[in-house]
């Protein structure tokens, strides 16, 4: 079974004072994609994960991590 994935997107967004819509537009995905990633309902692809990390200027591991 795939271990649960957690992420710090909400924190990173808050630091930049960004809405989900603004982040979605910046990385070229829909707002629904961002909201479902944040709540853990959707596991993003490698490409989306890399785009998010690049946008915040951090490593992918600083955004996403496995809980175990």
């Amino acid at each position: 079974m795939t271990p649960p994935l957690t992420n710090r997107m909400r924190v990173l967004r808050a630091e930049k004072n960004l809405s989900q819509g603004e982040l979605a537009e910046a990385i070229g995905v829909s707002r629904k994609t961002i909201s479902t990633i944040e709540t853990g309902r959707f596991v993003p692809s490698t490409v989306i994960s890399l785009r998010i990390a690049r946008y915040f200027g951090v490593a992918v591991e600083d955004v996403f991590s496995l809980t175990e």
């Binding site: 979605a24 070229g28 829909s30 909201s35 479902t36 989306i48």
Partner: protein
Amino acid sequence: MSYFRPSNGAEASDRLAMLTAFAAGFAALVHSLNIWQAYVNADLAAALEMIQLVGGAAVLMIFLPLFIWFKLRRGAPAMNPWKDDGYLGAVVKRAGFTAFAGLLVAALALSTLSKRLLPLISGEIMLDIVISAALALFSLSFFIFSSGPDGDPFEDEA
């Protein structure tokens, strides 16, 4: 941002996916009228045929222009609900797989029971049942898989 004026290509792509699921559900409903027509009296069958005609025209006159509208607003060619790797793209694929699995199970069940069912139901009606069920299953699974809490907590707090 209104429903018909998505803010970016990705939102347009999501709207396109939702519209497709809604249109599939509507098409299932319209197509299923073929089944009822075989079991009702001539007057009601004629009325159902008229409803079906109007429904078919509605699909062409409402969904088709909307479909083209959202497709044109998608922007980048990569943004396609069937190809992109966003949330609703994944839901479309999952709903498509569910509909295909349902179609396969229904076809196997009908094939197994064909000797018993064929004297009662014509082959044409059987096909109409399978097609309507597959369309309805796609639409229903899309809305079930995509339902759930949605919103921006920061914007909600503001």
